[in-house]
Symmetry: D3
């Protein structure tokens, strides 16, 4: 049954060099608009839910282009506030084989979202209809104003009985030196408020400062995640382990911890066309499974297949329907559909 979901987060303009050229070789860029929250909510609208983004954009041609793009992604514009002057941007140069892709950010601290004054959003009325809302650790890295808004909105949704989803998504370059210490209290605040958390053992160790004597990733995971869930009273913790293979394919192994039990998806290996945003597709799958009451096996398999398909699609934002994902769960590589 269709639910009402939202995300709180920044809209970024992605400026991508076409093909495999470097920025100093090319003369054109492809642009689109995305963001962790954009990606998760847009994916959820493709599964049939009604999706909102709570954000702020400038009243100028760049802001208009962002709104138009979000409409195209199926996002309702109700909570897109107008104000400020800038949209955060990043440049993407595609890697090839042994040459990695590169992302270069423009100044996002001055963006309309990151400079939104108090009172920009009416959190109570936004929270009222929400069955679930998504937050992301990237937003937490921005500044005090945004952190305050983020926590207030999470609080408001929680009070109304909506699910609070938090994706840890720690980005070292955003927090700078000594970042883990700066980040820790804010992460703890969000974990206190969250019902569903996207994280793995690295977040527990680095951001929360937990320790383990285990050596394998899985053993570390299985020791630390239950502890986190207990400490912060989180119903669902989910995430993936990614590895990059010698032939440039990626492998993804999804997991989900719920009711004291770990469930693992079958590991998936696949060629990658556009890696950015694939984690958000996984998140959207976990949220969808929880909203729809899938059993745990189905949820983590659905989320993993959603993540896998997102690697095969152009752009940050997942484009698969629920039907596409179910089909991918049951099939192997196939010939043309005609």
């Amino acid at each position: 049954m269709a639910k009402t979901v939202a995300a709180f987060g920044e809209v970024m303009m992605r400026l991508q060099v076409p093909g495999y050229d470097l920025l100093s070789q090319a003369s054109t860029l492809n642009y689109s608009f995305s963001g962790s929250g954009v990606n998760v909510v847009s994916a959820l609208t493709r599964y049939g839910h009604t999706g909102y983004l709570v954000s702020r954009l400038p009243a100028n041609p760049v802001g208009d282009a962002a709104v138009t793009y979000l409409l195209k992604l199926g996002i309702a514009p109700t909570y897109l506030m107008k104000g400020g002057n800038y949209v955060g941007m990043y440049f993407l140069e595609n890697g090839f084989g042994v040459r990695p892709s590169r992302v270069t950010y423009s100044n996002r601290q001055e963006s309309s979202f990151n400079t939104a004054p108090e009172g920009t959003y009416d959190f109570d009325s936004i929270a009222k209809p929400m069955d679930a809302i998504h937050f992301c650790g990237i937003t937490l890295a921005m500044n005090d104003g945004v952190r305050k808004q983020m926590k207030e909105l999470a609080q408001a949704v929680k009070q109304q009985g909506g699910l609070v989803v938090f994706d840890c998504n720690y980005r070292p370059s955003l927090w700078g030196e000594g970042g883990y210490e700066k980040a820790k209290p804010h992460y703890e605040d969000m974990l206190e408020l969250a019902d569903i958390v996207m994280m793995n053992e690295k977040d527990a160790m680095f951001t929360l400062g937990m320790t383990t004597t285990q050596e394998s990733r899985q053993a570390q995971l299985e020791e630390l995640i239950p502890e986190v869930a207990r400490r912060f009273d989180i119903s669902v913790v989910a995430g993936t382990h990614r590895s990059i293979n010698g032939d440039n394919t990626h492998s993804l192994k999804g997991f989900m911890y719920k009711k004291h039990t770990f469930t693992y998806a079958n590991p998936l290996s696949f060629s990658v066309y556009d890696r950015i945003g694939a984690g958000d597709a996984f998140t959207s799958g976990i949220i969808h499974g929880e909203l729809e009451g899938f059993d745990t096996e189905q949820t983590v398999a659905f989320a993993s297949a959603a993540g896998m398909l997102a690697h095969t699609v152009v752009g940050d934002t997942p484009m698969s329907s629920e039907r596409d994902i179910f089909r991918a769960m049951s099939e192997s590589a196939r010939d043309v559909e005609r």
Copy 2:
């Protein structure tokens, strides 16, 4: 020695989304014109034969663009009749890795070809110079008018002493529910008229309703094809077995049954750039071998290499010369030619 060949069939407009975008992401399409008969005849002109297409196109800018495209493919325009209003179209979205390609058809029942009234074509004069003519099961799926024309033209060419080639090419989506029963009598009519038939064991089982207790594809093939050849008095039956490998390469194993003997080509494995039309390249190789009097081993190896190369070229229509194919038969992956 150059021969005169023709095909009877529809010209379709292919509208392809560039790169790996979906139709709902992109804003441009690449277009070209093709069709099973177009592909086979164009390939044969590249081997040095004179090639015609017997078809009907509208006298409007879309029809003119189709004619121009066929000219570019080396096809003589003599038997391209003018009339009707529409060209059949299909949209192609390229898959990537685990995400399959998708084909979406426009309405082709109303196309100039499929609405050609009786008397559109002068079959006797068309048949007169032909050394061989190609028909395809896709055309057989269209409607009674087209089926009647197809059989009349096959009859006329057979009477003049030309070779009749029939590619079974059963497409379930075109025949709809209960399709095999509807299709069977028409397939039997064409098999009665044909000298060279492209088919494999599945056609025998599903379309002709034959049964076998064998379990492997090859054993089924070797039981059923000789039976078909005998029953319909067919000199050559040829086809391929395709498999899709874990690393997204395809493997193709060509076979040919002639004078009570099966000949198999060495299986070929290769990366795929554009899969559509590759079967027609294989067919063109079988026809060329038969017209030129190649021995069976050479014919099936040539057809397989033609099929393989067609997977590496943009568009439905094969672009390789006879020399390109002979080189591919004798060589492995190589460095730049300079």
Copy 3:
């Protein structure tokens, strides 16, 4: 104040040859989705209204692309029904100077919209919230099923107290020979239901069969339009006179007849980038003026400026905001805005 508006009409896929190439010269097409109703409603959403399209699209990749495009245009998807198999298409080749542009249609009679069975739309619930609804003579030319739906929906909106807008838009090629006679009763039905009608003296003479001894366009207009308004009890009749100048600029003179009085806009002359859909921009301006309670001078000036700006924008669908149009009403050609 924001109102709720809708249009009933077909969504067409526009396939445009880039630049000034002919279809037989090029190899790529730009595509978008439009339609008279799409254009009018999308323009109205840019002026701040909530806009719906009442239509039907196939549940396949082409239909999905159409829905995505309408979302991007700001149109709410609530009344876009799913069903049928095809989207109507047209090819556009841009003219240059003395060489006119050419439009070639694909078969639209088989489109999802034109084959929608009875019961596809729930007219009463659609009509309930509507302050205004737009219909177009192009739809009237399609077939009996569509005509019936069109009149039922107009009736339903009228009963709920919404404004019915009808744009005569007679297209000779769609009605065929003897078209005026076939069209007349249907036009009369729609005129009986309409509050605002887009037409000029030619519609009165050719479609309604009225006669006049006047010779100039303006005299004919001023004799016939009041008669039409009286006979069908129409509050507003509006339209334009277009002329094409020697230097390839176009001139447009908008008029509006309301409360027994003609009001004319100042004639506008301008260079043309994309002429298609500009009439719909004019219509959107008239509707906006009436919904907002502009005085007659302002309404017809606003509509004319909206029409003029639509000639300078890529695509069928107007892209100007209310502010852009007001600015164009008050200014002449200007330097870069920076």
Copy 4:
């Protein structure tokens, strides 16, 4: 009635910078193949004639691309010989307004055409079916080998009773210093052989060294052309006077001298999209009129309209049908055709 026509001439590869960039700004080129003879013959095939090009191209991918392009233009490949190594090329940078377009040639003396050895072409068998053949002063500027072939072929066609058409087309940069003296004897040879000649008063003065005391172009024309026609026994002399207007439009006034009488077309003024090859369109119109037996007024009007339309089409080669040209003769600038 369809006639059989040919041209003798080089095929050039045109490498055009897209839009209005300079070669040192851009990174892509559009390419096509053309040539004076290509343009004239291709235009004639659009009017319904069968057209050949007598030329020589290398047996490599560039030569193959040229042949494919000529096929697309409707030219029969029968007399396209294979041999040599290179195709002549030129780069085109589009001017804008006061900035003129620029053409830069690659080395064409080494092209397959310009290095064709004696015996490359079988002139007698080529000449046999020809109703008319076209030659151009550009070819005459190449080298002794080509000049000899040109004159032999003209002789052969004349003997068979075909019309010999010669377009003077003197290009100063190809003949170098003292060019008029070098060129004169060769021009005289061709004029002796020609039935239809494209030239104007400047050719008479500069290439043939004739003198006049008249000052206006028209008076010079009317004094010199009859003298040329008498001296070389030419049935038809035709040409144009071009002027470039202040608003960047061009004006063209076509003339034709036949049976001791000058006939002038109405001067045409128009915007220019692609100026190159427009003279060849005019020539094709004169040849068509003569082959079809149009009266003189109709021929020169048809040729002028053909020339005008060629300025509005991308590429060197005219793309208009006979019907397009007749329509342009009877109409002024018009709205979209739909």
Copy 5:
């Protein structure tokens, strides 16, 4: 004789929507790098001088792309310092006819140039070889740090005996409310240091607060500019009066005040392809004339023709050689150069 010139200023990234699409319609952008100083110096290198830019760019892929672009423009990289994080950007949407072009800036206060700390540049060693250096009022609008650097560098060049060029170029949007008062003391400082000043009567009235009772632009100019020149001891004051004509062509009238005398260029009218940066082309012409010792008439005619040609070339940066400009001074619109 080749001189050594420099400019001090920011490098901006220009992100331009191709064709006439809006940013909310398109999906690709063309990018380049420019700036008032970049444009002037690059133009001067095309006239044969050695040119430097004194600026600061980040050590990341965007900064690298900027440096590469400046190299391509002929600018020596010696004084391009590395540091900071961002490059200022602006988006450009091309207008068409009555619809004006739009420029939207990203946040440039945080750019590498605008955040360069004291000591970034070694002004004395930079100043030493310079025959002339260019500054611009846009830079003056940035912040105190940049203003200080600008004045120090001007001082250093003046002391070494180099010419100081200052282009007033007041941009209201950069100074904000009450901008003229804020700007005045800084403009006065720069005028004190300058030898050549680009300005017109509006700068005198608005920025310097001078008054006049004259009404025509020319009379105001002729009253105020001599006063400015005297007061600040400036040898050359030059500028243009631009008007936009009804047919979208622009007219430009250049003037130059030197040794108590006004010299005017013939007014030029022309079609405009890319208006941005054309003022810098005019400036480059004035500097070139002064460096080369042209007489006043020649200098102002050369500068005007340079400005005119810059309107016909893609991008902000002039691309004409000295020879192109001399040719444009002596000729009217011409046919293809071949």
Copy 6:
């Protein structure tokens, strides 16, 4: 520490069909300018050296575009002489999988470089500042004039104490039949002059006519190269062994012979995007290592990684910085850098 380096060689225009189309399928080309010397010097400027090219280009738009491109590649224009008429060109069609890439040359014997008369270059002043200079066997294949210039310049640099680098790079198609015999004396002359030589065992056997009874490539190498080094008194001989794997990846094993010892790099395997010019990247790495005084292990590892990365970048010319290459030496395939 930054050194001063140069190369002597031709600048070629590369005209590449985009994607995987054949030249007879496409209509656009991407162009760039390169050459063995261009590639080596440009790579060295990315490592921080100052780089020159000694060559000759025409004073026309094609020559201007070449100069602009070389500037963009970081090459100083001081020794680019102006003269002659043509730039050598080659067409590149990308292969896919089993279909090899194809290179087709235009006539380069007539290029500005290959027709440079004696006295074009002032070798003594060019040689003076050079720490190293690069020559290539491709240039040696051109003609006597160029060979003479090449040897004179090598002599001049050697006398000034600069390093002479010679890359054997024997191209059979350039020398024609009996090429090895023709080439041998010229290769011997260059080897006498060279300090660093790029070659492997095949050059020793085929070009120098040496023999060996060894069978493996490595054993042949280790027998022949020391002999060559001794005979011609060469300090460093380096090169690679390339193999193409079944999955279309390439493997590269770099070697370096110095002070009587062979050093081998770890073999590298990688996917290939653009193979052309990768050998020049390896060469640039060897030169850089020698100029910077790297130890042998580091030099050959650096050169190999430079070669590997060049296969992943668009165009002939390497684009990696020293830092990129060091990172590639220490890392395996990685996720996005952000």
